[in-house]
């Protein structure tokens, strides 16, 4: 039997800034049997999304499919006319985009968008399409499957939108579904539920699928076969088990190595004097109420210390308040309560009251170097400004300092005259880091500095930060949603949930059971690099709760160990565990230990 999908010698070309056409995908050939799931894996610029889109006969503006053939069933996709393509897309091949939040039209209801394809292609009547949509919502484990369709995209959470998008892709029962990094933008705890739903629906309906991802561990759960791409060329292809166990290609081997990061730094913080002390910190947004708390509290009663030369990892899902914490320490958002001490001296809460020396000693590095660096200024200009501002250096002295900074972040001095647009993602993040270092700070607050980067590039940045910390005696606060990252660079870890510090301890303590139930959920949600992990891991469900009451423990609704009657009514106490970590929980250490999963690698 001929394969369901056959791609041969595909070539896609794009116009670069100089107006020349350069190939961005070359000689891609693969075939897919009916019901198989193929993963396209590679880093940014590897051409994986370009190939995925070409399966729908689509090339982004500025690109064009220049050669080769794509055959789905009996159809030669590249020979279709515009009109035929319209009927082909959606009905026979459908697409699940990376960011469902952006791919849903904000001004139309979810149901209208989910059923649009079925109605447009005349596959079903409105009633039948809506019935099928509700069935899909149910199969994808969406809450309120009957009612969720009437909502608008902004009324639905990110993880739910991603599942709704899968429902949209499957509504017309296509022969092929293309999933483009469908869980990359999600928190790990959400990702696992979405992956489970995807797998069940895709396997359940026997759909042929192409799954695009940069994450090998995710792919290991989803794909039957893996195709490794780099710079638009195929590196290696084979069954998932073989690629994971015995990669032949050197690049595949490096990808696998980067997925399992080496620990840096120390197991426990150094015994130096505290640099930053935070006591009883509460902060939020909106008008301040009579009790001194803002209308929308984001952080509640946070205490921690960062010692000189040590690194604190702050981890939590989106909305946990971790970025707000960095903003409060930097002075961008004045705290409502509590104090921030630098070297034992209380810092004024607001930026305007801080002295230049305060500002110099605490520097913030933002997540996206693309938006943090002014595209109109050269690297020398970007780095020269803080040097002038904080150290008054000008002329040759300034140039010398710029060169030293570039050397410090391991960039060639020739880059000084370039603009950010001419740099790669990793280089930009290094410049971003150098900009913070220009002030010669004592403390650097890093907000998700590697999450926009590829694994290999991100690992190099982490190595660099660890080196700088040791060479310059810097202290860092490292904010991330990725447990792997935090565990690999920090010697202390603090876990935030809904603005509260639910667990804090040394890195060694965080790697050992027992944990706070939320920490455990985080740890157990990080996909492991082996097949079958998704099936083995059970689902964690908290007790059923009515949404009107606000439980005393914010984690109560999601907690597998919650004690109804206690956890929802009485605020949890702080508890010291024998491993040396402090948690915020009603459960005794013995209960937590019994429930704990075996520690990860």
């Amino acid at each position: 039997m001929a394969p369901q999908l056959e791609v041969r010698d595909l070539e896609v070309r794009a116009r670069n800034a100089a107006g020349e056409e350069v190939p961005i995908v070359r000689g891609a050939s693969f075939a897919l049997e009916k019901g198989e799931v193929l993963a396209l894996i590679g880093e940014s610029g590897s051409g994986k999304t370009t190939i995925a889109l070409s399966l729908l006969g689509y090339a982004r503006p500025g690109c064009r499919i220049a050669g080769g053939s794509i055959r789905l069933g009996e159809t030669d996709v590249l020979a279709l006319s515009r009109r035929e393509l319209r009927h082909f897309r959606g009905r026979r091949v459908s697409y699940v985009a990376q960011s469902a939040a952006a791919a849903f039209n904000p001004s139309r209801t979810v149901m209208a968008q989910v059923t649009e394809m079925a109605l447009l292609h005349g596959v079903a009547s409105r009633e039948a399409a809506e019935r099928r949509a509700v069935d899909l919502f149910r199969a994808l484990a969406l809450p309120d499957p009957e009612g969720i369709g009437a909502r608008y995209p902004h009324q639905v959470s990110g993880g739910q939108l991603q599942r709704l998008m899968a429902a949209m892709a499957l509504i017309a029962e296509p022969e092929l579904v293309v999933l483009d990094e469908p869980t990359t933008a999600l928190d790990v705890t959400t990702q696992i539920e979405v992956l489970r739903a995807f797998k069940q629906v895709v396997k359940g309906s026997g759909t042929t699928a192409v799954y695009v991802s940069h994450d090998l561990a995710v792919v290991a759960q989803m794909a039957d076969r893996i195709l490794v791409l780099r710079n638009g060329e195929m590196q290696e292809t084979g069954p998932t088990a073989r690629i994971l166990a015995a990669p032949e290609n050197a690049y595949t081997q490096s990808l696998l190595a980067a997925a399992d990061p080496v620990p840096r730094g120390a197991e426990a913080p150094p015994e130096t004097e505290p640099l930053l002390t935070v006591r009883g910190l509460s902060a939020g947004y909106g008008r301040t109420g009579a009790d001194g708390m803002p209308a929308v509290p984001v952080l509640r009663d946070i205490d921690f210390t960062i010692r000189r030369g040590s690194s604190l990892g702050v981890i939590g899902e989106s909305g946990s308040g971790k970025s707000t914490l960095a903003r409060v320490i930097a002075g961008l958002l004045p705290a409502a309560r509590g104090e921030v001490l630098l070297d034992g001296q209380a810092l004024p809460p607001a930026l305007a009251q801080r002295t230049p020396s305060h500002l110099r000693r605490i520097q913030l590095v933002f997540q996206s170097a693309d938006t943090a660096l002014n595209p109109r200024r050269s690297v020398a200009g970007i780095l020269g400004r803080p040097i002038e501002f904080f150290h008054g250096a000008r002329g040759a002295d300034r140039d010398r300092r710029v060169r030293r900074l570039l050397d410090l972040v391991q960039l060639p001095a020739a880059l000084a005259d370039r603009h950010p647009g001419e740099l790669s993602g990793g280089q930009k993040q290094r410049v971003n880091l150098a900009r913070a270092l220009a002030a010669e700070p004592d403390l650097i607050l890093c907000d998700e500095v590697t999450s926009a980067l590829d694994t290999v590039v991100g690992a190099a940045i982490l190595d660099l930060m660890d080196e700088l910390r040791r060479e310059l005696g810097l202290s860092t606060m490292f904010i991330s949603h990725d447990l792997h990252t935090v565990r690999s660079v920090c010697d202390e870890v603090m876990v935030l949930y809904a603005g509260e510090r639910v667990e804090a301890g040394s890195r060694r303590a965080i790697q050992e059971a027992p944990w706070h139930p939320y920490t455990e959920l985080l740890i157990s949600s990080v996909p492991e690099l082996r097949q079958g992990w998704l099936e083995e891991r059970g689902s964690v469900r908290g007790p059923e709760v009515t949404e009107t009451s606000k439980p005393a423990c914010a984690f109560f609704p999601r907690c597998g160990l919650a004690i109804p009657g206690t956890c929802d009514l009485v605020a949890p106490p702080r508890r010291m565990l024998s491993k040396g970590a402090e948690i915020l929980c009603h459960r005794e250490e013995a209960d937590l230990l019994r429930a704990a999963i075996p520690a990860g690698p």
Binding site: L56, G90, N105
Partner: protein, 314 residues
């Protein structure tokens, strides 16, 4: 959502009050005294003082303002200083003419501008789009008196198709209506269509770059449906604002067109009022222009609120 709309309407009323204060203050600062102007060379100190007292001009400013404002609210705009006729009556005879001209122009220009803007966005970069761009740019750069005069010379003087004057007094048939309004409406359309076209096109193109439009294309949605069902609903806010701004010109800025076609509208009334220091007429006309402007802009904002589900479902 209701609170949002109510807040917007409340803001409109506050703006209107501030505008009334500004109008009153500015007109009070105008040089010249209506009493002296009325009495002319026969003025003696006593007759001027007498007339000032009769007209209430000797009262302090804030009292006069409150009197005037109270009158406005109850629909009493005062009497014209020039001929003693109630201002309401003067305006009553002119406002319908202006509104008719504005309505006719809006009825022609808005659908035309939206159609051209949307189609230009749909085929952006093509020959049609470039032609629209060039045409709107050149039309918007030509002053309206030139357009109006040229139109009169071509259509009324040389071709003799239409009348050069537009006395909108006795319209009995559709043909006559067309004869009277064709030239002023054409001239006004030239001025306001261009801006609406450009803003509509820009608003839609902005939306067409959004990821959800690419998603719609990948769902197999055709180009017309992509623009009309996916992009347009998200562009309604900016388009409504562009339309409101353009239309507001129809009430306040038509003076040149009204003068050229000798059209008895309200803008002409105001200019005559300024010439004769007829403050009540000037103030009333200015209030009408400002109120119309505020009504249009507020309507556009309310439409934008209603068109955005994030605001609608609050």
């Amino acid at each position: 959502m209701l609170r949002l709309v109510a807040a917007r309407l409340g803001l409109g009323i506050v703006s209107l009050l501030l505008v009334s204060l500004a109008i009153f203050a500015i007109t009070s600062l105008l040089p010249g005294d209506a009493a002296e102007e009325l009495l002319g060379q026969y003025a003696t100190r006593e007759t001027v003082a007498g007339l000032r007292a009769q007209l209430g001009l000797d009262l302090p400013g804030h009292v006069r303002y409150l009197h005037w404002l109270g009158g406005l609210i109850t629909g009493d705009f005062g009497r014209s200083l020039a001929n003693g006729v109630p201002v309401a009556q003067l305006i009553g005879s002119r406002l319908p003419n202006s509104l008719m001209l504005a309505a006719a122009t809006a009825a022609v220009s808005v659908p035309l501008a939206l159609t051209i803007g949307i189609t230009a966005a749909m085929w952006r970069g093509g020959a049609y789009d470039r032609a629209v761009s060039m045409l709107t740019l050149s039309v918007v750069s030509v002053p309206e008196f030139l357009v109006a005069t040229a139109a009169v010379i071509v259509f009324a003087v040389h071709l003799r198709w239409l009348s050069a004057l537009s006395a909108a007094t006795d319209i009995t048939s559709v043909a006559q209506f067309f004869r009277v309004f064709a030239l002023p409406v054409f001239s006004l359309c030239c001025v306001i269509i261009a801006q609406m076209v450009r803003m509509t096109r820009a608003a839609i193109i902005d939306q067409l770059r959004a990821p959800y439009v690419e998603m719609a294309v990948l769902k197999g949605v055709g180009p017309f449906r992509v623009v009309l069902r996916h992009a347009l609903p998200n562009a309604i806010g900016p388009i409504a604002n562009a339309v409101a701004l353009s239309l507001s010109y129809l009430l306040g800025g038509v003076i040149i067109v009204e003068t050229i076609f000798n059209y008895p509208g309200i803008a002409k009334l105001m200019v005559d009022g300024v010439a004769t220091r007829d403050l009540p007429v000037v103030q009333a006309c200015a209030m009408i222009f400002c109120a119309a402007y505020l009504v249009l802009v507020t309507t556009a904002d309310v439409v934008a609120i209603l068109a955005n589900p994030r605001l609608r479902h609050r």
